[in-house]
């Protein structure tokens, strides 16, 4: 029996060596041994059961033997009393205790994990084992961190030190007009104003810790020096940095998988055939769906192959016609997107100008940007789908194109909304305009512009949630009722709502971007978003199980994770641009907020720096100076080049090995 030196079972368990000839462990008495030397499995250490560092357990259970043989081996191992040193036996005892501890922990977690039951059900319905729910949970985790940060560093001190003297730098030339800010409604109000206030973030909600405007610019000067404005700014900056690191780390994992497997080239069919069936699927309906799914995937792949062959066989005239048609349709799609963006622009301007109206009409006007954005994000992809039918790309390209259009629409739409808001606040960036001359921002419309921006983000989030719940109740339930109970052929063809994973993930990414943008102006928005995600999770779960059927078109999970993380990164970039611009270029409101006496929010940092002791100040200046940052930058470039070289070497090795294997 072969005993390859140093080929004992590894920590990860499982034998790794597979050499040329031998036979499979025969379990079935009826299996014939083929005469043409089938491969042998070299399972490492022999039946004599030598003591590995991992101990016998790892060794035995990763061997593909029938259970009775394994137990016989185990008996033999137990009979042998190994001569071990004290240290060895102490280590063994520790390992055993550790194992038992882990088991106990597993049992506890089994009962206490709140997502476990949901996940078990969802995991059984394997077609939902997708980025959606993992993504939602991860986002929840990230937001919980931020909420804790905010609570600790900003909220609690604000509550504690409320009313202390604000020792900002009172600028004596500040005009009283700019300081006029009183969002409290005067006199008697109808009761429904409170509901409207919750929906719009005005009134009593506005004057709460939810929005920027309520925070004071207290700087506690006595022995516990605590500078609230600085804490506010630094917490926000830290949150952004933390999110960036999280995204980049996960991108790294996804990229690593992509490089190691050399992309998806080759092996699609065998992958579907052998790794495609999910053994965890439960239920007859689910199994049928999964089978249809696999059928569809195979047919799509065959179709792509056929189209590729066809495309290669087109005549020149046909090619020219097809390409010009595609260019035309591309412009059409871009035109549709531009129209939607223009609509958002107009809606935002209109809504901001008419912000004084009361009642239901006022509510509708306030929500107009959200309504237009949601409607655009619903209608435009539908139309683009119809266009895509004419473009006749291969199915995978079509899916990617549709996703990219949807992403562009969402992110640029949000960008347009923010741009419109900012132009209005800063009067088009021109501080000499009539409205802006006095206070450097449009104080006529916005007594406290940061709160107003925060309110817009708040409204977007709330509207998102309302629409999701409303769709569930008003569209998907009735649709399922109709489909189940009517035998009309047309209705049956329409079928139940398809649960399309990519668009659901996009909605989550969009929500996350909104939260990031609003984090500076509405500090408790991440908390609201956490609650929203939890509600959405349970709503979507209900929808999934009762109302929907799974989408036939699937998206490969490895590439899709990478893609959605890149989109998330773009959203983060947008939010950071917005934050940087607001912090550095716009004059904070003079009537509210912790930065009311500064020319812009960033100035608190230099001001604090100058008040530090000499050594710390010198140290910080040194870090910021060129003598330090340029060598640091060069070092980072070198490290980056190293990693790029490493990745390319690995990629080349993979390709080389693959060609060698093929030969």
């Amino acid at each position: 029996m072969d005993r390859a030196a140093g080929q004992g079972p590894t920590e990860t368990g499982g034998p790794a060596a597979v050499t040329g000839n031998g036979r499979l462990g025969d379990r079935r008495p009826s299996s014939r041994l083929s005469s043409q030397s089938p491969p042998q499995l070299n399972w490492g250490s022999a039946l004599t059961g030598d003591d590995e560092d991992d101990g016998p357990p790892q060794d035995l259970r990763s061997r593909p033997l029938p259970m009775s043989q394994r137990r016989a081996l185990w008996q033999e191992q137990q009979k042998k009393v190994p001569v071990v040193s004290k240290g060895e036996s102490w280590r063994r005892k520790n390992a055993k205790l550790l194992r038992e501890g882990k088991e106990a922990l597993k049992e506890i977690l089994y009962f206490f994990s709140p997502w476990r039951k949901a996940l078990q059900l969802i995991g059984g319905e394997s077609w939902t084992r997708s980025a959606v729910f993992l993504f939602a949970m991860r986002s929840v985790g990230k937001k919980r961190t931020f909420v804790l940060l905010i609570a600790g560093f900003v909220l609690v001190p604000s509550i504690v030190f409320r009313g202390s003297e604000g020792t900002g730098f009172p600028n004596l030339t500040v005009l009283l007009e700019c300081m006029n800010y009183n969002p409290n409604p005067q006199g008697l109000v109808p009761f429904y104003t409170y509901i409207l206030d919750v929906l719009l973030g005005t009134g009593f909600v506005e004057l709460s810790y939810l929005f920027y405007g309520f925070y004071e610019n207290t700087v506690v000067e006595d022995r516990n020096f605590y500078n609230i404005p600085l804490a506010y700014l630094l917490t926000a900056a830290f949150y952004f940095a933390f999110c960036l690191i999280c995204i980049v780390v996960r991108l790294g994992y996804a990229a690593r998988v992509a490089v190691a497997t050399g992309g998806q080239t080759g092996g699609e069919y065998s992958m579907i055939a052998f790794a495609g069936w999910d053994y965890g699927s439960l239920g007859d309906k689910e199994t049928k769906l999964k089978q249809k799914n696999i059928l569809y995937r195979l047919q799509v792949d065959l179709e792509e192959e056929r189209l590729k062959n066809q495309a290669a066989a087109l005549t020149l005239k046909q090619k020219v016609f097809l390409y010009s048609l595609r260019v035309l349709l591309l412009f059409l799609a871009l035109g549709l997107i531009a129209a939607a963006l223009f609509g958002i622009f107009q809606a935002t301007q209109f809504s901001q100008k008419m912000s004084g109206r009361e009642g239901i009409v006022g509510l509708l006007i306030q929500y107009l940007p959200s309504i237009v954005i949601t409607a655009g994000n619903f209608v435009v992809p539908l139309l683009c789908d119809q266009i895509a039918l004419l473009e006749r790309y291969s199915p995978s390209v079509t899916i990617i194109l549709a996703l990219m259009r949807a992403v562009v629409l969402r992110l640029v739409g949000l960008g347009v909304l923010l741009f419109t808001l900012w132009t209005q606040v800063t009067c088009g960036g021109n501080p000499e305009e009539d409205d802006c001359r006095l206070c450097q921002y449009n104080y006529k419309l916005y007594q406290c512009w940061e709160t107003r921006v925060g309110q817009e983000m708040y409204k977007l989030t709330v509207f998102d949630l309302l629409i999701a719940v409303a769709t569930l109740v008003l569209v998907e339930f009735p649709r399922r009722m109709v489909v189940d109970h009517s035998s009309n052929a047309l209705v049956q063809k329409l079928g139940r709502q398809e649960f399309v994973i990519p668009s659901n993930v996009l909605v989550l990414v969009y929500g996350q971007t909104v939260v990031w943008t609003g984090a500076l102006f509405c500090p408790l928005l991440p908390l609201i978003n956490t609650v929203k995600f939890i509600i959405l999770f349970y709503c979507k779960k209900i929808t999934l199980f009762h109302n929907c059927r799974p989408a036939l078109r699937t998206f490969r999970s490895t590439t899709s994770t990478f893609f959605f993380l890149v989109v998330l990164l773009f959203g983060w970039g947008l939010a950071t641009t917005v934050m940087v611009y607001s912090v550095t270029a716009i004059h904070p409101s003079m009537s509210c907020g912790p930065f009311r006496f500064f020319d812009n929010m960033w100035l608190i940092v230099p001001a604090t720096l100058y008040s530090l002791s000499d050594t710390s100040r010198d140290f910080l200046f040194f870090i910021g100076s060129q003598a330090f940052s340029i060598p640091l930058f060069i070092l980072l470039c070198v490290v980056l080049c190293y990693f790029i070289a490493l990745a390319s070497v690995y990629g080349k090795t993979v390709r080389l090995l693959r060609t060698q294997l093929k030969l």
Partner: protein, 187 residues
């Protein structure tokens, strides 16, 4: 994890713990699942370890009853090759299909499940065709089945003998990161 149970002796439980990927509590849970399939056949205190449950009972478990490969799975893991399983086989099966089993072990058993329709330790074209038909509920046309089989053998066959050996299969599985999560039954 006390010694309060009276089904297994301590040594038996230790043996099962070392020979499968389950903890003590999970092994007991599985024993109760096994017993629930035929309470009159399986004694409560494991005095007859050679009790075999017929395949029909195993195949009626909710985790397996809709799986198109359930018969092959039961045959691969049973000692007599007919699908009738003792408790040992039962534990073995779910241990390999659990999430802690390593990839090579799973690949070995997956190969046996897909391969031995005709008992030759290889995956040949007819095995593949049967697999594909089970995967798609016989809805692919013959042409399509033939094309897909050709493509699969093309992609995975490294020694160019027209059929897939365990080596080929394992090399292909290495490139499929989702194999670990699909070849998994949660119990």
């Amino acid at each position: 994890m006390g010694n309060k149970q009276s089904i297994f002796t301590a040594q038996q439980l230790d043996a099962y713990q070392d020979c499968t990927y389950f903890t003590r509590k999970e092994i007991l849970r599985l024993f109760y699942r096994y017993r629930d399939l035929a309470p009159q056949l399986v004694p409560l205190d494991y005095t007859r370890p050679d009790v075999k449950l017929p395949y029909e009972l195993i195949g009626s478990m909710p985790e397996l009853k809709d799986n198109p490969f359930r018969q092959r799975i039961a045959e691969v893991f049973s000692e007599d090759g007919q699908g009738n399983m003792t408790l040992d086989d039962f534990l073995d099966m779910f241990s390999v299909l659990s999430e802690m089993a390593p990839r090579d072990l799973k690949a070995y058993y997956a190969f046996k499940i897909y391969a031995d329709f005709n008992n030759d330790d290889f995956i040949c074209k007819s095995d593949l065709e049967k697999t594909l038909n089970k995967l798609t509920r016989n809805e692919l046309t013959e042409d399509e089945v033939r094309m897909v089989c050709e493509k699969v053998i093309d992609e995975a066959d490294l020694d160019n003998d027209g059929r897939l050996s365990l080596e080929d299969f394992q090399h292909m599985i290495v490139r499929a990161p989702e194999f670990l999560s699909t070849f998994h039954i949660r119990i």
